[in-house]
């Protein structure tokens, strides 16, 4: 299955600033997914990013707060804008695991742990 690299692995940020997380995949994929894992909580899908089109955001997430780029089939970025302490979370990039893994199976990156002071 695909191998995902995320950068940064962790960061400490100041309130009001923005941070961009990068996700690099070692193979071409149609869809890339961004999840958030708040402290002590489960994973929540933020948005789905397809190459060549606007990302599709889930309820409760908006493009102004979480702009996403998908310039090609192996790369995506998620920006967390105007951060507040409530944005402290692990942000995970994921992609389809591949046909051999079956339907609806995702491969995940190691995540980017953001702490907002």
């Amino acid at each position: 299955s695909a191998v995902i690299s995320q950068k940064p692995s962790r960061d400490i940020c100041q309130r009001g600033t923005s941070l961009t997380i990068q996700c690099q995949v070692d193979s071409q994929v149609t869809m890339m997914f961004w999840y958030r894992q708040q402290p002590g909580q489960s994973l929540t899908l933020i948005a789905t990013a397809n190459q060549g089109s606007e990302a599709t955001y889930e309820s409760g997430f908006v493009i102004d707060k979480f702009p996403i780029s998908r310039p090609n089939l192996t790369f995506s970025t998620l920006t967390v804008s105007n951060m507040s302490p409530e944005d402290s979370s692990i942000y995970l990039c994921s992609v389809e695991a591949g046909e051999s893994s079956g339907a609806n199976v995702l491969t995940f990156g190691a995540g980017s742990r953001l702490t907002v002071l």
């Binding site: 692995s9 909580q41 489960s42 789905t48 695991a97 199976v105």
Partner: protein, 114 residues
Amino acid sequence: AQSVTQLDSHVSVSEGTPVLLRCNYSSSYSPSLFWYVQHPNKGLQLLLKYTSAATLVKGINGFEAEFKKSETSFHLTKPSAHMSDAAEYFCVVSDQYSGYALNFGKGTSLLVTP
């Protein structure tokens, strides 16, 4: 709508004893069910999946899960715990309409003691 409930936020077992992590699901349609494991500072790894084939699913590292429609359950088990099994485990549901929009449970933290 679909959802999963992981009945235990923390489970502690001794090395060599059985593991049981409980998960109940709710889905309006035929569900696909998964268990993922998350080791500290590592990405989520798929343990096993159920997609309407055999109800007893065998996964990696000796784990297995049984889909019980009558009980709407998909509990994860392992006959003998190993220290390396200590991690966070997530039960996940999707269906033909949600596709890749997976619905994660809140997770169960498994502690394995010597």
